[in-house]
């Protein structure tokens, strides 16, 4: 709900690159990140933005079975079985098919998976209509699922396989929105990446005896999630008038006609692209927005990595997280 004069005020401000809170169009708000406060989860991370956005992501790992008809045909640019380096993103499907893997079918049967859910705590939903909340959560869950399970999702899904063809690790990523202050999707991805950095998977030792494969899970020995550093972050840009801004506040989100979400990883690869909102984006503006997002993504990632490194040091020192205290 926004008045005409307020909308006009915000639009004119954005045009001059002076937003209501004084930021320029491409300025992000300060982000606070903390990991490991949910001790019963395999990994957790909480991200808070200055304007009130508060997202908590918990990751729980469990042993699951590899789906027998796992779709592999669509994974044209899949990880090749030789364990070689993945090709840089942007290289078309053609380049990857030439690797010596034995066809699409075996790929998905040798990987674990990540299952994501986004939920809104009731304290955050008062801003929205309940039906909008559900569709928003669904949209974000689907995006998160798609990005993390894709070839450029970062996490090494092949490393999550325990017994090829039958058992694998399933990472259940549950994002909980505790409070809403705009810029939700970016905060969710930031918290997810942080939670994956914090996640520890118990070591699984596989033994083959008389043709039967058995595995044992050791709780004491844990491993990090391989490939967490390559998990992308998203930069969501909102089109207001003829300009675009990043990290919108709730009022700015109400003024925006279209939203473009770009997922970028630390190698500079474009991992996902999604347009939301009712308005249209001119193709020239679109190209410009994508380029801007790629650059901003690198800034975000380096800030994120710095915060995570500080968290790792804190944990190594044995200092307890402040959590909500």
């Amino acid at each position: 709900m926004i008045s005409v004069s307020e909308r006009d005020y915000i639009t004119k401000g954005v045009d001059r690159s002076v937003r209501a809170d004084g930021r320029a169009r491409l300025d992000f708000r300060d982000l606070n990140l903390e990991t490991g406060m949910i001790t019963q989860a395999s990994g957790s991370c909480r991200v808070t933005l200055e304007g009130g956005t508060d997202v908590l992501v918990g990751v729980k790992v469990e042993v699951g079975s590899i789906e027998p008809d796992a779709e592999a045909a669509a994974d044209a640019d899949d990880i090749d079985d030789d364990g070689g380096a993945r090709t840089a993103g942007g290289g078309g499907p053609g380049t990857d098919d030439t690797t010596g893997s034995s066809g699409g079918g075996t790929h998905a049967r040798n990987r674990g998976r990540i299952s994501c859910t986004v939920a809104c705590s009731p304290s955050a939903t008062r801003v929205f209509d309940p039906r909008d909340v559900e569709s928003m959560c669904n949209e974000y869950s689907q995006l998160l699922n798609r990005v993390l399970n894709s070839a450029h999702g970062g996490v090494d899904l092949a490393a999550l396989c325990i017994v090829p063809g039958s058992t694998c690790w399933v990472l259940n990523v549950d994002a909980l929105v505790l409070d809403y202050g705009g810029g939700l999707l970016d905060a969710i991805f930031a918290a997810t990446r942080g939670a994956l950095h914090n996640t520890r998977i118990p070591r699984a030792t596989v033994e083959q005896t008389d043709g039967r494969v058995e595995f044992e899970i050791e709780d004491e020995e844990t491993e990090i999630v391989a490939g967490w550093e390559d998990v992308p972050l998203t930069v969501s840009m909102s089109k207001i008038g003829y300009r675009h801004i990043v990290d919108p506040t709730p009022l700015e989100e109400l003024c925006s006609s279209a939203r473009l979400t770009v997922a970028v990883n630390r190698r500079g690869n474009l991992c996902a692209l999604q347009k939301g909102g009712e308005g249209g984006i001119e193709p020239s503006l679109l190209a410009e927005m994508v380029q801007t997002a790629k650059q901003l993504g690198q800034t975000l990632l380096s800030r994120h990595d710095t915060l995570l490194a500080a968290e790792a040091r804190r944990i190594a020192k044995g200092v307890d997280p402040t959590g909500f205290r």
Binding site: Q40, S44, V59, T117
Partner: protein, 245 residues
């Protein structure tokens, strides 16, 4: 029955090293959410609960409006990553709705709703991690959040749980104890009047044992009252400091 983990050892110690009448370590913090009118966070042992209070404000649903008092809505939610095994969040989990209703009725007795006719007070409780005693931790968090929101109440609502095992009443059960078929009684008490505002028991308990268990739970509630009172006084003092300087 197969031999199980001893809930109370022969030396009188429980699995986490507590004495039978000992409450877990409690940590509290108020004003944790910037957007809510009142909020609180409580950690009781490993159980963590976040409470947010909005109100009194204009009701979202016109239907439930009362002409002479405020309506209280309580939503109780448990996170998927909160317990040992991940549970997928079910749409309208009946159990959670029931708990929300129970907590609503508990607070209706103490909140001065007649001061705010035709309005709504919303209490949102989120269990972030559960190690037993989620319901009573949520009630305590709601009390702190309501006070943090400045909503007038006639008394604190302090809650605690107690059980009975091996001829002994134990206080503040953790997850292991709750799941070991120990009858668990959750009690919410109004300390000034000594009245019991909520009572819940989910398994079998011999009638003779009921009184000592209630007495122990009430004792636990009085201990919680001291903790909650201390938390409020500290946060009020801090607030006064910021205002006066």
């Amino acid at each position: 029955m197969a031999a199980r983990l001893e809930i109370v050892s022969p030396e009188g110690l429980r699995v986490d090293g507590r004495r039978p009448a000992e409450v877990r370590r409690v940590l509290t913090r108020t004003g944790v959410l910037s957007q809510a009118d009142g909020s609180a966070y409580i950690e009781q042992g490993n159980t963590k609960c976040l409470a947010a209070v909005y109100g009194p404000r204009e009701p979202v649903k016109r239907a439930g409006v009362l002409h002479d008092r405020a309506t209280i809505n309580v939503e109780y939610n448990v996170s998927s990553f909160s317990s040992g095994e991940r549970r997928a969040k079910l749409r309208r989990d009946r159990k959670l709705l029931e708990i929300g209703l129970m907590i609503k009725q508990t607070f209706e007795t103490v909140v001065a709703t007649t001061s705010f006719p035709r309005s709504e007070i919303d209490i949102y409780l989120q269990i972030l991690q559960t190690d037993g005693g989620a319901v009573h931790t949520a009630i305590n968090a709601a009390t702190l959040a309501l006070i943090d929101a400045g909503i007038p109440m006639t008394d604190y609502v302090c809650a605690c749980s107690a059980g009975f095992v091996n001829d002994q009443a134990i206080l503040d059960l953790n997850f292991l104890e709750e799941s070991a078929d120990v009858p668990t009684l959750t009690v919410a008490l109004l300390p000034k009047s000594g009245k019991i505002s909520m009572l819940g028991l989910e398994s079998r308990l011999h009638i003779d044992k009921l009184e000592p268990v209630i007495a122990l739970a009430s004792d636990g509630c009085m201990q919680m009252k001291d903790t909650l009172d201390e938390a409020i006084r500290i946060s009020t003092r801090n607030l006064a400091k910021t205002v006066l300087h």
